[in-house]
């Protein structure tokens, strides 16, 4: 109690220091006056009385000092004083302050924002209870060497009976057109099985969720559940939404419930707003054999029992799943699903169907950012060490005037603290801003990134620790300076210990090494990007527009849909700005290309393995529109489109199945007799990186899925053509929606997105790193010159030329640069090897890339170290010698 009382009173006194000083003065004055008055009453003269009073009182100033020391919190008072001093000295050296604070801010900002993004991508889970219990099914075909995550409806039904998990369910994402009585719009939705909500553990915010009893009879369960966010945005959160029905793809559905807030379907970052029973599938995918065991479309996931190991469930799955497969499959009509016979369970805490193809990319970026932080820390360390040696003289003066060691260390510490605090605040601001930049560059705008407090603290801590360490260390060293030995020599800074100097140089070399790593990485990705962009695609993506329309969504039958497509195509071809136009199912680089499994035995006698062959359905003029050359044979004609037995293959197909010159006219069996009528040049199908694989093209009417794209090569502005196409669709069938429109060139450039994003970020960071290293080197040389002013003066005096002096310092910089490169290049090679899968068309140890990076670095660093030489040249020998 007493202690607390004293503390509070001391704190108050600290804050009102000035007023208390005045009060003390007045109190003592009044005491002295009363004492003097008493003496004068006894007949002493005024002068004598005043002296006697002072004698009785004792040392006035000493009393005041003791009083002051006990009055407030000394530590705090000194700290405030030191901070004021530090602030003043930083203001006197704005360059130093700006670089130190800027380094900190960028280091902290980059790090915490990048990690916030990585965390959001990597560690966020579905907003459901115990998401770590969720698992997802995957099947693998050793024969095709590929995996499939979707399964057929009969498979899912049988699997649910097998009781492998506490509960299991399946879903298929679709887009549907929703009419709420006011307007029609596209809404992402999921077809779900009965235990979907039970498996996820989602609760309703209103009404009820879908149950197995909602899936009983095919086509007769027109009920649905909507998300909380759709309820709010489309139905204004009104409770009477449960009494309403909505039109989806032309059919009336009853809303029976609303899911809890935050839940938007089972795939993280891909919101779905409506859940519909899987028994209503036919409503959304017409003319699709969705109940067939050969039609795999459902993502299957389950919830493990608490404590159940994923591996244990997987072991049972490996036994059960093949049995289910052989039970449901039609022995008369086997197909490729039988080949996918190796099953596994994946963790699905982010939902089934979540794509995770960016893990390497993210680890790479995190690595790059950590390197940047290291460089920033090294930079701060360098700066503070240099500063400490510059202040050595000042410190010696303070020590000789009797300042205690703790106060000296405190003073250094205050400056570091101030820098750290300012850098931290700026870093915080930078974090917000940089997060947006990263999300934009990485095309991750959909991510909701919360500033990551943990990471922010970590990077702040790392930088603060550096600043404190390198503020404290020189302070401690300086406090040991023996003022007498120091002797106030004019250029006393020369006393700086050799070890401290060596340490600074090591730090600079270390920075150069880190910058080398980043520069090499940047050069590699830049080269890779160039290669990706200059790859021969085999087709010309420029000036090709794509319009996706879906008459099925307006409730049109398959036959009617084809009629609509035909009519639209005919009229698009007549547009003045259209060079050629076609229809296609399966557009290159769109991510949706059908795969046909192909039994080699049916194809040819040649002994080759079966494989999956990308297959597109196209109308006439497809090859002309994409500018793919027809090497032999011909394009589809109207008779092919009617009879449906013609097929066109690419060059790789001919080579793979060893058809040679006899390809055109070759017959084979594929759901009936097929004849190859043409051979076209190879063209990339999915990615620029892919090996050229065999491909097949069928006449478009052969396709059963119903959703085709109109593709047109334009002569002029693509926007006007797209507008015209929209008008044509509207006039052909006003209810057919245009799902979306694309440009082929954009689809292609989206493919090289990874390369571009990484190159962009690497360039930012490596330029930053280069800049920091240059600043470090500049600092070392400038410092070295200021220390050796007299020496330079003497050299000039005895006839040294400018190049002689320059050589003196450049030799030192060269040694630093070389040692930095010597460490940096092997490190860069090792790291490049780690990311080799992300490179395209360039070896991780490409000598030209490494030479280029090293040359750029050397040039930049040499320039930086040559800049301060001007100061050396300006030294007047006479002046310098007089200083001695």
């Amino acid at each position: 109690m007493v202690f607390l009382h004293a503390l509070r009173s001391k704190l108050r006194a600290t804050l009102s220091r000035h007023r208390r000083d005045l009060e003390l003065n007045e109190e003592i004055e009044s005491h002295l006056a009363m004492l003097a008055a008493a003496y004068m009453d006894r007949g002493v003269s005024a002068r004598e009385a005043s002296l006697a009073a002072r004698r009785d009182f004792g040392g006035v100033e000493v009393t005041k000092q003791i009083y002051r020391e006990h009055r407030g919190l000394n530590l705090l008072e000194n700290l405030l004083q030191d901070l004021r001093l530090a602030l003043r000295s930083l203001r006197k050296n704005p360059g130093f302050a700006a670089i130190a604070i800027g380094s900190l801010a960028i280091g902290i900002g980059c790090n915490s924002s990048m990690f916030a993004v990585v965390r959001a991508l990597k560690f966020r889970t579905l907003p459901v209870p115990s998401p770590q219990e969720l698992v997802q099914l995957r099947s693998f075909s050793p024969e095709f060497k590929s995996t499939v995550d979707t399964f057929s409806y009969p498979f899912v039904k049988e699997l649910a009976k097998a009781n492998l998990f506490r509960s299991a369910a399946a879903m298929f994402p679709i887009a549907l057109s929703l009419y709420d009585g006011v307007r029609t719009s596209q809404v992402p939705a999921e077809l779900i099985t009965g235990d979907y909500f039970r498996t996820l553990g989602v609760k309703p915010a209103l009404g009820r969720l879908l149950l197995p009893s909602d899936m009983t009879s095919l086509g007769a369960n027109p009920v649905c559940v909507i998300s909380y966010s759709l309820w709010q945005s489309r139905f204004a959160g009104q409770p009477n939404v449960l009494e309403r029905s909505i039109l989806m793809n032309g059919r009336r559905f009853q809303i029976v419930g609303v899911t809890e807030p935050g839940f938007q379907g089972s795939v993280l970052y891909w919101p779905h707003d409506v859940e519909v029973p899987v028994s209503m599938t036919a409503q959304f995918m017409q003319d699709v054999p969705w109940k067939s065991p050969n039609f795999t479309f459902l993502y299957v996931f389950g919830r493990l029992n608490p404590g159940q190991m994923r591996t244990a469930a997987e072991a049972r799955l490996k036994v059960v799943a093949p049995r289910i497969g052989s039970k449901i499959r039609d022995p008369k009509n086997p197909d490729q699903t039988a080949r996918f016979n190796q099953f596994s369970l994946l963790p699905a805490s982010r939902g089934p169907g979540f794509m995770e193809d960016n893990t390497t990319q993210l680890s790479l970026l995190s690595g790059v950012v950590v390197l940047t932080l290291l460089i920033a820390c090294a930079n701060i360390a360098c700066l503070l060490l240099a500063r400490a040696s510059a202040q050595e003289r000042e410190t010696a003066v303070q020590i000789s005037l009797g300042a205690p060691r703790t106060r000296i260390i405190q003073r250094y510490l205050a400056e570091s603290l101030l820098i750290t605090a300012a850098g931290g605040v700026l870093g915080l601001i930078a974090t917000r801003w940089l997060t947006h930049v990263f999300l934009y560059v990485l095309h991750l705008g959909y991510l909701e990134v919360q500033p990551d407090a943990g990471m922010l603290l970590f990077s702040l801590g790392a930088c603060a620790l550096t600043a404190l360490l390198f503020g404290l260390f020189p302070g401690w060293q300086a406090s040991r300076v023996n003022a007498r030995v120091f002797g106030f020599r004019e250029h006393g800074a020369a006393r700086t210990s050799r070890s401290q100097n060596l340490f600074r140089k090591t730090l600079v070399a270390f920075q150069i090494a880190l910058a080398t790593v980043l520069l090499v990485g940047f050069a590699l990705f830049l080269r890779s990007l160039q290669k990706v962009q200059s790859v021969n695609l085999g087709f010309d993506p420029d000036n090709v527009v794509i319009a996706n329309l879906d008459p099925g969504k307006a409730g049109r039958s398959h036959a009617k849909s084809l009629e609509i497509y035909r009519a639209v195509l005919d009229r698009v071809r007549l547009l003045p700005d259209v060079e050629s136009a076609t229809l296609a199912f399966g557009i290159p680089f769109s991510g949706f290309i059908g795969q046909a499994s192909f039994d080699a035995a049916k194809m040819t006698d040649a002994k080759v393995q079966s494989r999956l062959v990308p297959a597109s359905s196209v109308a006439a003029d497809y090859f002309r529109t994409l500018r793919i050359r027809i090497l032999r044979g011909r394009d589809f004609n109207s008779e092919d489109l009617r009879k449906l037995h013609a097929v066109i293959v690419n060059r790789a197909f001919v080579d793979y199945y060893k058809l040679g010159d006899k390809a055109v006219g070759h017959h084979f069996n594929f759901d009936g007799d097929m004849e190859i009528v043409g051979v076209v040049a190879n063209a990339k199908v999915q990615t620029v990186r892919e090996e050229q694989s065999p491909a097949m093209f069928f006449p478009v009417t052969n396709d059963s899925s119903g959703q085709l794209s109109v593709m047109a090569r334009t002569r002029g502005a693509s926007d006007t053509v797209l507008r015209e196409i929209r008008k044509i669709v509207q006039s052909v069938d006003s209810q057919t929606p245009m799902v979306d429109e694309q440009r082929l060139s954009e689809l292609v450039s989206n493919q090289s997105f990874n390369e571009r994003a990484i190159t962009a970020l690497c360039s930012i960071f490596s330029i930053f790193a280069l800049l920091l290293s240059c600043m470090g080197l500049y600092g070392v040389v400038a410092y070295s010159i200021s220390r050796r002013t007299q020496e330079i003066g003497v050299r000039f005096a005895i006839g040294a030329s400018r190049p002689d002096v320059a050589r003196l310092f450049l030799k030192e910089s060269c040694a630093l640069i070389l040692s930095g490169l010597a460490v940096g290049i092997p490190a860069a090679l090792a790291l490049a090897w780690l990311v080799r899968t992300m490179l395209f068309g360039v070896e991780p140890a490409d000598p030209s890339v490494i030479t280029l990076a090293a040359a750029a670095l050397t040039l930049a660093c040499l320039t930086a170290s040559a800049l301060p030489l001007r100061r050396a040249f300006a030294i007047d020998p006479a002046e310098a010698l007089r200083g001695e």
Binding site: V2, A6, E27, S30, M34, A37, G58, V62, T63
Partner: protein, 110 residues
Amino acid sequence: MAKKKTDVLQGTLDLMVLKTLQTLGPQHGYGIAQRIGHISENLLELNQGTLYPALLRLEQNGWISSEWGTSDNNRRARYYSLTKAGRKQLAEETESWERFSGVMARLLSS
């Protein structure tokens, strides 16, 4: 010739101040110094200035409080007075001092 002066024992100054304030009521620093000097018949070696850090300490501990007032001869002065906690503290310290001096007296007379 006056008798040899005695140093003030460490910690006893606080007790003297508290006791003086109890006897005189609110008093300024000069008054306290005069009273202590008068009672001790000027046998204590006490710089009056040392009173102030002691007053500060006592006030920080919450045993005395202070306010500005006017002295008898119309001078502005700071008046100190005992607080409730100060009275308690004085009682405790008096007791412990009496015990201590009793022990010393017995020890020295034996």
